[in-house]
């Protein structure tokens, strides 16, 4: 498998404000909201792409479909229906993908029958059920929602790690990051801290300090990233816990 062509804008682009809240508040109408949505879509391009791949399409076709999906989503005004009080970007995106696929299938079928093209509106956030198109919902049935959520968690983790790596690089600590990142996993490592200390020319105590800092900063960044995708005031820990559960059961 080759590396998916993640748009460069998505890599490590730190959000300044809570993007999804911004999108929800403006119902996608303001230029700022459109920009925020654009950034979010770029950031979470990968779960959509992988979800589409998983249905048995080739990577090229999946990539084309993904581009088309985002293009339509960003052009559409479906967010007018979005309710700021509920719904996460994750749920919204999954619902939109499913809807897009259903619509795609319907169009393909209609074209075969020589019919016109009618587009259905994108669902609102939290509206994970693709209503009104029951006969084609089974298109995505073979790919469970949890697969999308798993990919989402991977992307989230990747974003946080990339940001952390960039921060460390800015402090001229790339070597330290690469050497110490295994400790982000936990304590039960057979890895020797004294060896790492020797390689990094630090005392063992200093390595412990560095590991603690790395973990703390990673936690902060991860929470910031989660915060970008959920409505303001929503429990960040709750969303993180959900993703941990998805990974544990997957």
């Amino acid at each position: 498998m080759s590396h998916p062509a993640t748009p460069p804008a998505a890599r490590g682009g730190a959000f300044v404000t809570t993007r999804w809240s911004c999108v929800l508040e403006a119902r996608g109408a303001s230029p700022a909201a459109r920009a925020a949505l654009g950034e979010l879509c770029a950031a979470y391009w990968s779960p959509v792409f992988r979800f589409l791949c998983c249905e048995g399409r080739s990577e090229d076709i999946a990539r084309e479909l993904t581009q088309e999906f985002f293009a339509r989503m960003l052009a559409g005004d479906s967010l007018a229906h979005a309710d700021p009080a509920q719904g996460r970007f994750r749920s919204y995106l999954l619902g939109a993908v499913k809807h897009f696929l259903a619509d795609q299938r319907q169009r393909e079928g209609a074209l075969k029958r020589g019919g016109g093209t009618t587009t259905l509106p994108l669902p609102g956030p939290g509206d994970t059920e693709v209503t009104g198109c029951g006969e084609i919902a089974d298109v995505t049935a073979m790919v469970p929602d949890s697969y999308f959520d798993r990919q989402w968690a991977f992307t989230l983790m990747d974003r946080a790690l990339t940001r952390l790596a960039e921060e460390m690089a800015a402090d001229d600590k790339s070597t330290q990051f690469n050497r110490l990142k295994p400790w982000l996993v936990g304590d039960a490592l057979a890895l020797s801290q004294s060896e790492a200390a020797r390689e990094l020319r630090l005392s063992e105590g200093a390595v412990k300090v560095a590991i603690h800092r790395l973990r703390k900063r990673f936690r902060e960044i991860l929470r910031e990233e989660v915060a970008q995708t959920i409505p303001a005031g929503t429990d960040i820990s709750g969303e993180l816990r959900y993703l941990v559960e998805v990974l544990a059961t997957g």
Binding site: F154, G186, D187, Q193, G205, A206, V209, I211, K216
Partner: protein, 597 residues
């Protein structure tokens, strides 16, 4: 994203890491770890609410309040900057309710002044203290690092690291103790490690500040705020039982707990194992840790400097290779020299003492104080045994306290030494102490007169080996050229007997003028007369004393103290003496009459 097929299991959870896991790290573990609440730095019980940055900034206009660092040391700590000095500081705010209490405020001033005097490379400096905006505050040196708790969470300390950290803590403690300041709340949260790996002790004396005896207010307030008043696991037993009596050795106990935790990753609770059983350690470390953890503070190291010396002694004497150290240390456990000393004492010195006692005993008995001598013979090995057991127990570090003894290394060895120390050696000593005197007594039998197993001689005649004096007496008179004559020896024996009986009379064992003493006096008088060759005096003495003894026996018989046959013997003795004296012309009873030659 890394999309390589990755079949490596996660070192943490053991499940295969997905091929597309970011950076090849197990997403499950990374996210699970990040999703758990932050380590440390959170208020105990979540009830302590940190004042907002703006509130703090308003109370401290000369400081730039940068961020909340965490909760600890019974207060909230902020990172701040002193713009004028351009240095970072840590601002510790004590609960606001305390600042409102004038008694606390006064004590705070007093204690903080003490703390501000401590300057040591391993102690967090107190720059400033006081009250501002209703807060009692301490302005502290900012330590760019983590506390030991967080460091332990980042990974267990290697023995080498732990052994490097402890001396630094000891140095700081020793310094503070010399300044008369106790820490009172040593625990991993109060030991900081900066980015250079330097150890810094924080929160000196804060525990006392907030826990002045008799002041329940501070304690109450803090408990209400949810701040923990020191964790019992790190507190010395006397600190829990009698907080008013603690001295610097309470800090040494707490240090012992931290030391144990650094080495093993666990607290020394219940039947805890020796550190060397938990980590690849020189077993001599066990002795140091157990000693610091002794329940009785008298048994602990008596200063932090002593702990430091012990720990540093390990690294100096130990070759750098850690692998071989264990085998060596198993063969020579640390308490061994002490045991050897006490065993030598038991096997050599104490038996010698017992033998001396055994030699002394007959001499004492010869003097007549029989029961006293016997007591000494019995007591010496017993006292010696007790001293041995006591010394043996004390020579084992921490042996006298419940916990470490329970956790003392392998059972068989422990039992073996306990049996040797407590049973075999004292038993052996007592046996030696008893056998030697018995053998000694057999070689120097006691005079029969004091042996109660022999019938009492009512007339004192029985011990007299001489036949009744008669005309043949002169035949024995000439003294041989070599050695004393039989008569002279008899006189000497009689003198000794009399002397001994008089001593017995002094302690009430015999009557001062009883038949025993009269009998002995008679024997002496007879022997003296025989030495002189004065047969008449012999007969006279016999007659005189026989009459006196008869008088006593008659009285005793009248009182039912002696039997008729004993009275009869006394009467016969008088009759015999009269017959003997008839050979000589009547004269003064004690008049010396020269034998005709």
């Amino acid at each position: 994203m890394n999309t390589q097929l990755n079949l490596n299991p996660c070192p943490q959870c053991g499940t295969p890491i997905p091929g597309d896991a970011p950076q090849g790290l197990c997403p499950r573990c990374v996210l699970a770890r990040a999703a758990t609440p932050t380590e440390g730095g959170s208020p105990a019980g979540g009830r302590l609410v940190a004042p907002a940055l703006e509130v703090v900034a308003a109370a401290f206009p000369t400081l730039e309040i940068l961020e909340l660092l965490g909760f600890g040391g019974m207060g909230v700590v902020y990172k701040a900057r002193q713009p004028q000095l351009g240095r970072l500081v840590a601002l510790k705010l004590l609960p606001q309710s305390l600042g409102a209490d004038p008694a606390f405020a006064e004590r705070f001033q007093r204690e903080a002044r003490c703390l501000a005097r401590l300057h040591h490379p391993n102690i967090v400096n107190v720059y400033e203290f006081g009250q501002s905006g209703g807060f009692c505050y301490l302005l502290l040196e900012y330590v760019d690092g983590v506390n030991l708790r967080q460091a332990m969470q980042a990974g267990r300390f290697s023995p080498k690291e732990a052994l490097a950290i402890v001396p630094a803590i000891c140095g700081a403690l020793q310094y503070a103790h010399e300044q008369g300041v106790l820490h009172r709340d040593i625990k991993p949260e109060n030991i900081l490690l900066d980015t250079q790996g330097t150890v810094k002790l924080a929160d000196f004396g804060i525990a006392k500040l907030l826990r002045e005896p008799g002041d329940t207010h501070a304690e109450l307030t803090l408990t209400q705020t949810g701040s923990r008043l020191g964790t019992p696991h790190y507190m010395a037993p006397e600190q829990v039982e009698n907080p008013g009596s603690v001295d610097h050795r309470a800090d040494i106990y707490s240090l012992g707990v931290v030391f144990y935790e650094l080495l093993t990753g666990e607290l020394p609770l219940g039947r805890f194992a020796a550190p060397s059983a938990k980590a690849d350690l020189d077993a001599r470390v066990d002795a140091i840790v157990f000693r610091a953890l002794a329940k009785e503070r008298e048994l602990r190291q008596q200063s932090a400097g002593e702990v430091r010396t012990d720990v540093e002694g390990l690294s100096q004497a130990q070759p750098p290779g850690a692998g071989g150290s264990r085998a060596v240390s198993d063969a020579a456990p640390n308490p061994w020299p002490h045991r050897l000393f006490w065993l030598l004492l038991g096997l050599v010195v104490l038996p010698v003492a017992a033998v001396i006692a055994a030699i002394l005993a007959p001499i004492l008995m010869k003097g007549g104080v029989r029961s006293f001598g016997g007591l000494i013979v019995a007591l010496v090995p017993m006292v010696a045994g007790a001293a041995l057991v006591l010394g043996y127990r004390q020579s084992r570090p921490g042996a006298a306290q419940a916990q470490p003894r329970a956790a003392w290394n392998p059972w068989p060895r422990r039992v073996f030494w306990s049996v040797i120390g407590l049973v075999v050696l004292p038993g052996l000593l007592i046996v030696i102490g008893l056998i030697v005197p018995i053998v000694a007594f057999r070689q120097h039998p006691l005079p029969p007169a004091i042996d109660s197993s022999l019938p009492e001689a009512a007339d004192g005649g029985l011990p007299n080996p001489l036949p009744a004096p008669n005309a043949k007496l002169p035949a024995v008179l000439p003294a041989g050229p070599s050695g004393p004559s039989p008569s002279a020896r008899k006189r000497q024996l009689a003198g000794e007997q009399l002397e001994m009986l008089r001593k017995q009379a002094e302690v009430g064992l015999v009557a001062p003028r009883g038949q025993e003493i009269l009998g002995a006096e008679r024997d002496l008088a007879v022997a003296e007369a025989e030495v002189r060759g004065d047969a008449a005096a012999v007969a006279a003495a016999r007659l005189t004393y026989a009459n006196s003894i008869l008088a006593i026996m008659q009285r005793l018989f009248d009182n039912g103290k002696v039997s008729a046959s004993e009275l009869y013997s006394a009467k016969t003795a008088v009759a015999d003496a009269e017959i003997a004296s008839q050979q000589f012309p009547p004269a003064g009873t004690n008049t010396v009459t020269p034998l005709p030659r």
